[in-house]
Amino acid sequence: AQSVAQPEDQVNVAEGNPLTVKCTYSVSGNPYLFWYVQYPNRGLQFLLKYITGDNLVKGSYGFEAEFNKSQTSFHLKKPSALVSDSALYFCAVRDLFNQAGTALIFGKGTTLSVSS
């Protein structure tokens, strides 16, 4: 079965420091991977995706993610964290065995807290 794991419930980082939010996945074929961010009382906002090609993907708000096939990981990174980055982050993979194959499977989410 397809699955996504976010091993950390919370990540704490000081403003200006680099941040990493971890994600590992399990799929049978080639994964389509996504990162979304959720601010309180707001919907999920798309950050970036990996479909094919370059393993380093750049997205919105200075975020990037690195696809590592051998480690089945897709960690989200940012070189310098901002307090405004504090939010709930979700990793998701496209469900290849879903009837129509386009629904997303989400991880449980990681709360990022950036302190000033």
Partner: protein, 116 residues
């Protein structure tokens, strides 16, 4: 432009009642998804529409849940005989075309359903 909108933003109902949740996707998006997000969890897939038809309803938990999209735009999620376990945030997402699965999904702010 206008994003995905959902109404109502909050719905409180009593156990056993019937509820309808509405989703207005981004204009021109042919793919529409419903997800359910329980507290502390990532969104879980419920149903996917391509145009007017439900291409995949494998995520609906039981026959109390039903969704329609009669004209290929607005969708309504219907829950009969609500139970306390149905309490969650119901998210709607749309995408220009769901067929390839490569595109990101654009999420609405959600409807928070509370069943007393």
């Amino acid at each position: 432009g206008a994003g995905v909108s959902q109404t109502p933003s909050n719905k409180v109902t009593e156990k056993g009642k019937y509820v309808e949740l509405r989703c207005d996707p981004i204009s021109g998006h042919t793919a529409l998804y419903w997800y359910r997000q329980s507290l502390g969890q990532g969104p879980e897939f419920l149903i996917y529409f391509q145009g007017t038809g439900a291409a995949d309803d494998s995520g609906l938990p039981n026959d109390r849940f039903f969704a329609v999209r009669p004209e290929g735009s607005v969708s309504t999620l219907k829950i009969q005989r609500t139970e306390r376990g149905d309490s969650a945030v119901y998210l709607c997402a749309s995408s220009p075309s769901g067929a390839s699965g490569r595109g990101e999904q654009f999420f609405g702010p959600g409807t928070r359903l509370t069943v007393l």
